[in-house]
């Protein structure tokens, strides 16, 4: 097939406010790359956006099979958005497995762009399909654009020096070009990226660019598409320099920044575990940023080494997921007793036990707040979006060093792997919370209190401050071992006060919508985007609903009861069986909470929240 000469002008151009595309193919098809290129280009044209990848479960399944499908969803928009979108408007499916695995999510009437060249008998069988969905009518109701991309790429690159197999690996750029055409985006940013990335293998840069441009040109064929779309730049984005960032990345950067704000080296002790591994890997590359990563033999060693490093004057941190937190539980207690700074990051995944390691859940909240033996209070924060992870990590570092305490920061798989544009912070805006080490031996006592009830940070190497710490109960001030009953009670309450008095400095969550009323929807972590989007839609449609995102989960900010008291009902959507709901009910028994839960290893759809709220409001007395 030759490139069509028809121009874009031949088809109508439709403005859309917001679009969701899911790219899906085999693990080897490069869908993540396609997605991230589309993301960058959309960012550059000024859209707001949010993305979420859908990796196959842990092990690389054989090519062509359903478990081998890899997906990437992008939501790009002319307005402010908060989630990667519910149902895709467009599903790009590079093989039968990709089609069948993702079809259920597609919007009714949505568009399917299928690589018909891969719908062979063999691939259909691998996908456990008895017949070809492109032909058996099962896709009726969708707009199906069926293209033999294999053939088109082969044709487009027939003059390339690459091997046939290598040529086929350019397929994803063909698709990318096609989508650029369809959504009226420039190919240049990607072309430039190809040139730098493959600077050492220019033939690859050339081939991929050519594939992309062929795809772009193919879009002009109006046999394929009845129209083109345009999603204008988003006017609501605050001015500034931006980059697109994933939650895990932002969190890692936040730890680096937090340690710098504290004037300490960052020591990350970690043991790999999905979906937290990225943080370790990212920081391992920051050796010139005063970051030490120690990959330990297990989670226990990881946290213990971090604690040892904190004792020695670094800012100890440890990143993991639920099963790893379980293993770190005992050492967390030691951190509470020794009152050393420590940041524990839990990138939550679906449990219990090994559960569904690549799927999202936020079911470790109760563990974070209550899951230790003895009275071992620890502040708990949760990040609400990929970019929020940066700020949360800094705040966690601040609390840790200011109060000499372990801090738990909750993220989740959805935030960790989701991405959104990040307005890059001005470094001068970052807080300075340097806490000097104790050096003066005069009247030194290791458990004497300073501001915020912190004990002094007196590190080995300092003459005259030699002292011993440990997990046995400490005598107030001296830190000597003590079994005195009254001292124990005093210390238990002191440790509690040190943490609970954070309530005084935690700000109240921002409320969107009216300051009082029938319904407040509260969210934390991975539900926040969907709740915020839903509330905006609802308010736009005239429903009197407010929403707020909680970052500070333990303790709750002072005045929260008062804030909550202004609403008749407080809806708490969660990806668990109602954990925050339980805690809120216990802390604010006078308020009227309603739990709404989804435990499917998948985030809420905005529409689910919308519907739930509508039904609540409809059934008002």
């Amino acid at each position: 097939m030759t490139e069509s000469k028809k121009t874009a002008l031949d088809v109508p151009l439709e403005q859309q406010e917001t679009v969701v595309i899911r790219f899906a193919g085999d693990s080897g098809d490069g869908m993540q790359l396609t997605g991230s290129q589309f993301t960058t280009t959309s960012a550059v044209v000024g859209n707001d956006l949010a993305t979420f990848p859908d990796f196959p479960a842990e092990i690389r399944a054989p090519a062509g099979t359903r478990p081998g499908v890899s997906g990437f969803q992008i939501h790009f928009s002319a307005i402010d958005i908060h989630t990667p979108g519910d149902a895709p408007d467009v599903l790009v499916a590079l093989n039968p497995a990709a089609l069948i695995v993702n079809l259920g999510d597609l919007k009714p009437g949505g568009m399917i762009i299928a690589n018909s060249g891969n719908f062979t008998a063999r691939n259909l069988k691998k996908a456990h399909l008895d017949s070809n969905p492109l032909e058996d009518g099962s896709l009726d109701g969708y707009r199906v654009i069926s293209i033999d991309i294999n053939a088109r790429v082969a044709e487009a690159l027939k003059d390339s020096p690459l091997s046939a197999a290598e040529i086929q690996r350019c397929k994803n750029f063909y698709v990318l070009g096609l989508m650029y055409w369809l959504y009226s985006r420039p190919v240049e940013p990607t072309a430039r990226w190809l040139q730098t990335t493959f600077a050492k293998r220019p033939e690859l840069a050339v081939a991929n660019e050519k594939a992309m441009r062929s795809g772009y040109n193919a879009g002009n064929i109006h046999e394929l598409f009845q129209g083109r779309y345009e999603v204008p730049a988003c006017a609501e984005m605050p001015p500034g320099r931006y980059r697109n960032i994933m939650g895990n990345q932002a969190l890692g950067l936040g730890l680096v920044a937090g340690a710098q704000c504290a004037g300490r080296k960052l020591f990350l002790g970690a043991y790999p575990i999905t979906p937290a591994t990225d943080i370790l890997q990212q920081l391992a590359a920051y050796k010139h940023h005063d970051v030490i990563t120690f990959m330990a033999e297990d989670e226990i060693a990881a946290i213990c080494a971090a604690l040892g490093a904190s004792f020695a004057g670094h800012l100890g941190a440890t990143s993991t997921s639920g099963p790893g937190v379980a293993l770190k539980t005992e050492a967390l207690g030691l951190a509470v007793m020794t009152e050393l700074p420590l940041v524990l990051v839990n990138v939550q995944r679906a449990g219990p036990s090994t559960g569904m390691p690549t799927k999202v859940e936020q079911a470790d909240l109760l563990q974070a707040i209550f899951g230790r033996n003895g009275e071992a209070p620890i502040p708990v924060l949760a990040c609400a979006s990929p970019t929020d992870a940066f700020d949360c990590a800094i705040e966690a570092c601040r609390i840790a060093v200011e109060r000499m305490t372990p801090v738990i920061l909750l993220s989740d798989n959805y935030i960790a792997n989701g991405s959104e544009p990040w307005r890059l912070p001005d470094l001068d805006e970052l807080p300075d919370f340097r806490v000097p080490f104790r050096t003066d031996p005069k009247d030194f006592q290791p458990y004497l209190r300073k501001e915020k009830l912190a004990r002094p940070w007196a590190i080995p190497g300092t003459p005259g401050l030699e002292h011993r710490i440990g997990g046995l109960e400490k005598q107030d001030r001296t830190g000597n071992v003590s079994y005195d009953p009254a001292n124990h009670e005093a210390m238990v309450r002191l440790r509690a006060r040190k943490v609970m008095s954070l309530a005084e400095e935690f700000p109240l969550p921002t409320v969107y919508g009216s300051e009082s009323g029938d319904l407040l929807v509260v969210s934390w972590g991975g539900t926040s985007g969907a709740v915020r989007s839903a509330a905006e839609i609802l308010r736009r449609d005239g429903f009197p609903v407010a929403n707020a995102t909680f970052r500070h989960l333990w303790p709750f900010p002072q005045g929260l009861d008062d804030l909550l008291s202004r609403y008749q009902t407080i809806l708490v959507p969660e990806m668990n069986t109602g954990q925050l709901y339980r805690v809120l009910r216990s802390e604010f028994p006078a308020r009227n909470f309603l739990s709404y839960t989804k435990v499917q290893g998948k985030p809420f759809h905005t529409s689910q929240i919308v519907e739930r709220v509508q039904s609540i409001l409809e059934h008002r007395p």
Binding site: A43, V44, M237, P238, P239, G240, R241, Y242, R243, N244, L253, A257, Q260, K265, F267, Y286, K287, H288, H289, D290, I292, F294, A296, E297, I300, A301, C304, A305, A306, L307, G308, A309, S310, F311, A312, G313, G316, E330, A331, G333, L334, T338, R423, L424, L427, I459, P460, G461, T462, P463, L465, E466, H467, R468, I469, G470, G471, L472, N480, V481
Partner: protein, 332 residues
């Protein structure tokens, strides 16, 4: 760095009352260590003793250095963090046969594998002392304890073999009751560059009294132990008239004059393992002293060297650059 001061043994004592059972061998080790540390030429503030949980793990409280009484089994892991964060410190891990080889066995072998420049003293009393006397992974098969009323059916670990198998670069054994020997071994351990592991035969007078008597008691010691001294022949006996020599992969008694010369620095650890296999129940003398002493890369040095190399190559990292990395764009 603070100026070098001359320390006395008394300087090494903390103000805490020592609370081991009267007669416990731990007192002897404490006293020996106080002497050894005072003489290392290291200022007190540069010393950090990390322990787990057990009678033995109370050790840091009684020393006037920095100390961290950790949780059960995790001393080596905590010490790893301390040492990486501040390689300038003289870091000592004090642990027991339960703390170090039962619950803490994993961190133990991994510390030895990584070969940080730390010293691990394992107080082996072949019993869980603090929990009042259960058999441990080093207890002799058949030991009757409250947890094994009919005698334990477990095979014990040989701590020296475990350390050798894990790749130990310095592996030694001493007797709590022989302060001179202990002092020498502890000093050698401190001097070794890498993880130094010392097994200490330590009598628990309450729950496992006399386990080591057959070899460690003053009266029999000269005949029933042999001190492995680098470069010296394997000679023992009160009259130093007896010796050991290697014959293939076995070891046999011989006259002192025919004794093999001991080389703990040999490439292979096979000879060390062979000597470690000599048990208290046989009639060969039980080796104490230095089984193994070889040069090997030290973890925290390699790590910091790598960091320095990256810094040298890329310059000190800038947070601004890190944040602004990748594709960026401007709005407004």
């Amino acid at each position: 760095m603070s100026e070098q001061t001359t320390l006395t043994k008394k300087d090494m004592k903390s103000d805490q009352e020592v609370r081991w059972c009267p007669g416990c061998d731990d007192y002897a080790i404490l006293s020996t260590m106080q002497g050894v540390l005072a003489n290392l030429g290291i200022p007190r503030e540069k010393m950090c003793i990390v322990s787990g949980i057990g009678c033995s793990s109370r050790f840091p409280y009684y020393m006037s250095t920095y100390g961290f009484h950790g949780i059960h089994g995790r001393a080596a892991a905590i010490a790893t963090g301390v040492k990486i964060a501040n390689p300038d410190l003289s870091v000592w891990v004090v642990t027991g046969d339960g703390d170090g080889l039962s619950i803490g066995g994993n961190h133990f072998i991994h510390a030895i594998r990584r070969n940080l420049d730390i010293n691990i003293l394992l107080f082996n009393n072949e019993i869980y002392g603090l929990t009042k006397g259960q058999y441990s992974p080093t207890s002799q098969t058949g030991l009757v304890t409250k947890a094994s009323p009919n005698g334990t059916v477990e095979r014990p670990f040989n701590p020296i073999s475990v350390a050798v198998g894990a790749g130990g670069s310095f592996v030694a054994r001493t007797l709590a009751g022989d302060p001179k020997h202990s002092a020498e071994v502890f000093t050698q351990a401190a001097r070794h560059h890498g993880t130094s592991f010392v097994e200490i035969f330590q009598n628990c007078v309450i729950f496992n009294d006399g386990t080591f008597d057959a070899v460690a008691e003053k009266k029999v010691r000269a005949e029933r132990t042999i001190d492995l001294v680098p470069g010296q022949p394997l000679v023992y006996g009160a009259a130093r008239d007896k010796g050991l020599r290697f014959a293939g992969f076995s070891v046999e008694r011989c006259a002192a004059t025919e004794a093999s010369v001991w080389d703990p620095e040999a490439r292979s650890a096979a000879a060390a393992l062979l000597l470690a296999e000599i048990g208290r129940d046989g009639d060969l003398p039980v080796p104490i002293g230095i089984f193994r002493r070889v040069a090997a890369p030290v973890y925290e040095e390699a790590l910091h060297a790598q960091i320095a190399a990256v810094k040298a190559k890329r310059g000190p990292g800038s947070l601004h650059d890190l944040i602004h990395a990748g594709e960026t764009w401007t709005v407004g």
